[in-house]
C-alpha cells in the first residue's frame, strides 16, 4: 500500500514521543554537570608522571631518559635533565628531570609515551575537566602539575596499576636478593681474606659454618 511506510514511521515517532514522558529508561541522556557516568577503566586522555611515597619531588620515578620525548609523535614533551642525582625507588642514584612539560593542547592522547617508558614513570590520566580561559598557560602542564601519586594511579586504573606494582615489587625483591647475595659473597670473601691473613684465628669464623645444627 502506498504510504504504509510513512504511517509506520509516524507511529514509531509518536510512540517515542509519548513513551519518553512515561518511562524514564527511554531517556538515556546523562544530565552532565549534575550527573556523571562512571568512567570505564581503560579511559585515558593525557599523560601524568607517577611518584612513589609522599614527596612528589623525592619519589618521582622519571629518570629523564628522554625516550618519551623522542618518541612523542607531535613532539609535545619537553624535558631538561638535572645536573645532580637523587636516589630512585630502587636506591640507585639517577638524574631526574629538572623541567618536564607536556603541552596538552598538542598532545593527541596516543599513549606512546606510556608504552615506551622503561621506568613506569608516565601513565595516562582520566581527568577531563581541563577547560580554561587561558589558552596557552593553562594547557602547558609543568612537572608539578603532572605529578600524581601512585595511590592516585591505583585508584584510576586499578588492574593496570597493581600489575605494575607487583612487577616493581618483584624487581625490588630481586634486587634486594641480589644485593644480599652480593653482600654475603662479599662478607664471605672478606672473611676468607681475613682468615688467610690470620691463620691463628682460623677456627673462629668457621665456627658458625661448621656448626652442625
Amino acid at each position: 500500500m502506498v504510504g504504509e511506510g510513512i504511517l509506520k514511521g509516524l507511529a514509531e515517532t509518536a510512540r517515542n514521543f509519548f513513551g519518553s514522558y512515561v518511562s524514564k529508561d527511554r531517556l538515556t541522556t546523562v544530565q552532565y554537570p549534575e550527573q556523571r557516568e562512571p568512567q570505564i577503566e581503560a579511559t585515558r586522555d593525557f599523560p601524568f608522571l607517577v611518584y612513589d611515597g609522599a614527596d612528589w619531588q623525592q619519589g618521582m620515578r622519571c629518570v629523564a631518559c628522554q625516550i618519551c620525548e623522542k618518541e612523542c609523535p607531535p613532539k609535545c614533551i619537553f624535558i631538561e635533565k638535572s645536573k645532580d642525582k637523587k636516589p630512585d625507588a630502587f636506591g640507585k642514584m639517577q638524574i631526574y628531570p629538572a623541567t618536564f612539560n607536556i603541552d596538552i593542547s598538542v598532545c593527541m592522547s596516543c599513549q606512546i609515551c606510556v608504552e615506551v617508558c622503561p621506568f613506569d614513570a608516565i601513565k595516562m590520566d582520566v581527568e577531563y575537566h581541563q577547560s580554561s580561559d587561558d589558552r596557552f598557560g593553562a594547557l602547558l602542564l609543568n612537572k608539578q602539575r603532572l605529578s600524581k601519586s601512585n595511590e592516585y594511579y591505583n585508584a584510576i586504573h586499578p588492574t593496570e596499576a597493581s600489575a605494575v606494582d607487583a612487577q616493581r615489587a618483584e624487581e625490588l625483591a630481586k634486587l634486594e636478593a641480589k644485593a644480599k647475595a652480593a653482600a654475603e659473597v662479599k662478607a664471605a670473601a672478606e672473611a676468607k681474606a681475613a682468615a688467610d691473613a690470620n691463620p691463628a684465628l682460623n677456627a673462629s669464623p668457621q665456627q658458625p659454618a661448621g656448626d652442625p645444627q
Partner: protein
Amino acid sequence: MTHLALMTQHLDQIFVLTSHWLLSYLPIALQPLCSAILSVAAIIIAFATLFALTTLLERKGLGRMQNRYGPNRVGPCGLFQPLADGVKSLTKEDIVPIRADRAVHFMAPVLLVAASFMGYAVLPIGRNMVMVDMNAGVLFFFAIGSLMELAVFMAGWSSRSKYSLLGAMRAIAQMISYEVPLVLASVVVLMQAGSLSTVAIVNMQATYSGIWPHWFVFTPWGFAGFALFMIAATAESNRSPFDLPEGESEIIAGYYTEYSGFKFALFFLGEYIGMFATSGMAITLFLGGWSAPFSFLTWIPSYFWFFAKLLTIISVFIWIRGTLPRLRMDQLMNLAWQFMLPMTLLNLLTTGIWHFMLPGFLRWIVCSTMVIVPCILLGSGLKYKKKFQIRTYHFSQ
C-alpha cells in the same frame, strides 16, 4: 442569557474594539494610517512570539521523538531558550564573505522576512480581524509568496559560494515545482466558493448543519486538496522531508551557508513565518479559518480557534520532520510532476463534478472514488516503475 452572549461577543471582538477605541482619540485624517500601523504591529508581535514558541516546541518535540530531553537549561523546563538563542544570535559576529555582493547579501534576509510577513495582510485571524479584505486576497497571497524565491536566490547568488549557489538552485527548482500544485490545490476552493476573497471563503465555511461545520476539508475533493496543499506547503517552506535546499549534510546550509549572526536568525525567522503563513492559508481555505469545529463551541473567541488550528498544523510539521528522511532531488521532482500535478488536475475535475451533481449519497461515492482510486493507482504505478539495478558509474571506471 443575552448578557452572556454580549460578553462572549465582546471577548471575541476585544482586539477590534480596543483598536477602535484607541483610534477614536486621533484626528480623522490620521486614523487610516494609525490603524494600519496598529494591525501591522499586532501581527508582527503575535507571529514573532509564535515563532519563538515554535522553535522551542520543535527542539523539545524532536528531542522527545529521539528519546532525548531537548533544551532544559534556560529557565523552567528550558522555557527561555528562545530568548537565549536570540541574545546569542544578536551578539554573534556578522561575517560577510570578502567577495560577496554586499548590498544584495544584506537585502536578501530583509526581503525574505518582509515578503513572508506580507502574506498575513489577507489572512483572517479572527472574525473581523483581517488587515485588508481584498477581493483578490488569495491571488495576492500567492503572488507575495513567490517573492520569497527571489530572496532565496539573492542570498545564494550574492554569497559567491558554491554551496550557497547550489542550495539556491535547488531551492528555486523546488519552490517553483511545488508552487504549481500548491496553487492548483487551492483552486478547488475558489471554484466552490466562487470568490478570491479570504474573508468570503471563511464566511462560507463558518456555517453549521446540526453541530457539523461546513469546512471544505470534509468533502472528498476538499480533503484531497488539503492533503496536496499541505504536501506542497511543506516543500514550499523548505521543511523536512523536502529540506534539500538546506541539506546540512550535503551542502552545509544551502543558500544561507554564508550568513551568520542576526542575518542567519532572520532567515530562520523568515522561513518559519512563511511556514505559518502557508499553514494559515491552508486553514483559511480548507479548515474553516477562525470558525469553531462544532456549533456549540462558537462562544470561544474566533482567534483562539485560528491559533489552535495553526499550532496543530505546526505540531504535525514537527512530527513529520522527526519521522521522514530527506528526499533525493529526483524523487522530489518526480513527486511534484508525476504525482502531485496529475492529482491536483484530477481534483479540479472532481470538484466540477461535485458541483454539478445533486447533493446526496451518490456524489459522495463518485467523488471519493475519483480521489482514492487514482491516488492508489498512481502511487503504486510509480512504485512499480522503479527498477532496481546495479549502477554503473561512467566517470569512475
